[in-house]
């Protein structure tokens, strides 16, 4: 535990992994969320994949916050959490409505809604 917390001492530069390491992890997580959103056909999993993309954005924000030694990025993560919670409430209410209508979660059953 002390090894982890020792890094919370805010040294001048980010210790071993640089900012780029975190951004790479964040980009890969975002890419996985994007691929999942495009490929999965279950409505709930599609929304779960948007949460994955939110996570990736949050990780990049915290890494930038740490890099610049201020807390602005972390406050933005609070709003990512807020938007994610609001989105989960609304999206899941919509999913329940759609499920009651067609008894299925298949996104392709709603093809007639294409604009």
């Amino acid at each position: 535990m002390s090894a982890i917390l020792a890094q919370a001492d805010y040294p001048a530069l980010m210790s071993a992994p640089t900012l780029f390491h975190y951004l790479v992890v964040s980009a890969f997580m975002f890419g996985l969320g994007l691929v999942g959103f495009l490929t999965r056909r279950n409505l709930i999993i599609m929304f779960l994949c948007t949460e994955l993309m939110f996570q990736a954005a949050g990780l990049a924000l915290v890494a930038f916050s740490r890099f610049h030694l201020n807390h602005t990025g972390e406050t933005f993560v609070i709003f990512v959490l807020t938007v994610a919670a609001a989105e989960a409430a609304m999206a899941l209410a919509l999913v329940v409505l759609l499920f009651r209508r067609k008894e299925t979660l298949d996104a392709e059953r709603w093809e007639e809604m294409r604009g």
Partner: protein
């Protein structure tokens, strides 16, 4: 400062990762998920190894690599697992690994808030809806799952699109991130916040017996606590100010993550908190309105659900 990693190497490793993800996505017939996960993991390992070599002057941080491997591996499982409940549980694992990364980054408050809000609240809501809206499988077999969970839509095209974006993004960042100026060493702008926390300094000094039980931090002529943060000293004395002396502030007395975040939120972004509250209130109202709405089955679905006679009794 040049690119942190050779761009062509990065693009190649992105392609390897894309091939792994494309193989791991669920599809009709035999889906080579294990092979796909192995190939994707090899791509991730390659990226980490290349980054570690380019950064050999520093000690490798095992926690970072461990947590990010767990996060990305379980993120892959979220998008490939045919069962929605397991996908949601793997997402919880992604959240926990992200929390680990946040703690490595020194953002303890956000890490724990992530566990409480995401893993504790949002994911439980997801699980509820998944259990409400999924037919219970009759046997513990993959075949019992709905067709839309077992077969993914356009796995190849989607993976190519997604990983083209990841390759472009990471390649661009590899060139750009190295040129972002880091803050000057030793100049932590957050250290000044200690001036706002005389009570904390006083408590810490008292616990270490550096000042007497009745001593307090004196107030300077400008109304601020008489602290010299450059020299890390503080003027203390008896409450009346009769006897004064200078006490050192120990090096490990500093503004914690929670205190810094609180000052940032309340002092610099007070309007944003209000907006977040309004967003949450609107979402709650919207969810209540949506959930109360009475919905009938589609005309096309009725015969299927209620037999040829159709309709509600």
């Amino acid at each position: 400062m040049g690119p942190l990693i050779n761009p062509w190497l990065l693009y190649g490793l992105c392609a390897v990762g894309a091939a792994g993800v494309a193989l791991a996505l669920p599809r009709r017939g035999v889906s080579p998920q294990v092979v796909g996960a192995g190939v994707g993991g090899a791509g991730l390992l390659g990226v980490f190894a290349a980054l570690g070599v380019s950064n050999a002057a520093h000690l490798p941080n095992l926690h970072f690599y461990l947590f990010s491997a767990i996060a990305l591996g379980s993120a892959l499982r979220v998008i490939t697992h045919p069962r929605p409940v397991y996908a949601a549980l793997f997402f919880v694992l992604t959240i926990l690994a992200s929390c680990g990364l946040y703690i490595v980054l020194g953002a303890e408050f956000m890490g724990f808030a992530l566990v409480i809000v995401y893993a504790g609240a949002i994911l439980i809501t997801y699980l509820f809806v998944i259990m409400l809206a999924t037919q219970a499988p009759t046997a513990d077999r993959v075949d019992a799952l709905s067709e839309y969970d077992r077969v993914s839509r356009e796995p190849l095209v989607a993976t190519i699109v997604g990983f083209l974006m990841v390759g472009a993004l990471t390649g661009m960042m590899a060139r750009g991130v190295g040129t972002i100026p880091a803050p000057a060493p030793g100049a932590d702008p957050r250290a000044g916040l200690l001036m706002m926390l005389p009570g904390k300094v006083e408590r810490e000094l008292r616990e270490r017996a550096l000042i007497g039980r009745d001593d307090v931090i004196l107030t300077a002529s400008d109304g601020l606590p008489a602290m010299d943060l450059a020299a890390r000293t503080v003027r203390v004395g008896s409450p009346g100010g009769a006897e004064q002396r200078t006490a050192p502030i120990p090096a490990d007395v500093r503004v914690s993550n929670v205190e810094g975040l609180a000052f940032e939120l309340i002092a610099n972004h007070p309007g944003a908190i209000e907006i977040a509250g309004v967003i949450l209130l609107m979402a709650m109202l919207g969810a209540v309105v949506l959930a109360r709405k009475k919905v009938d089955l589609d005309e096309h679905e009725r015969p299927a659900a209620f037999g040829p006679g159709g309709g509600h009794p």
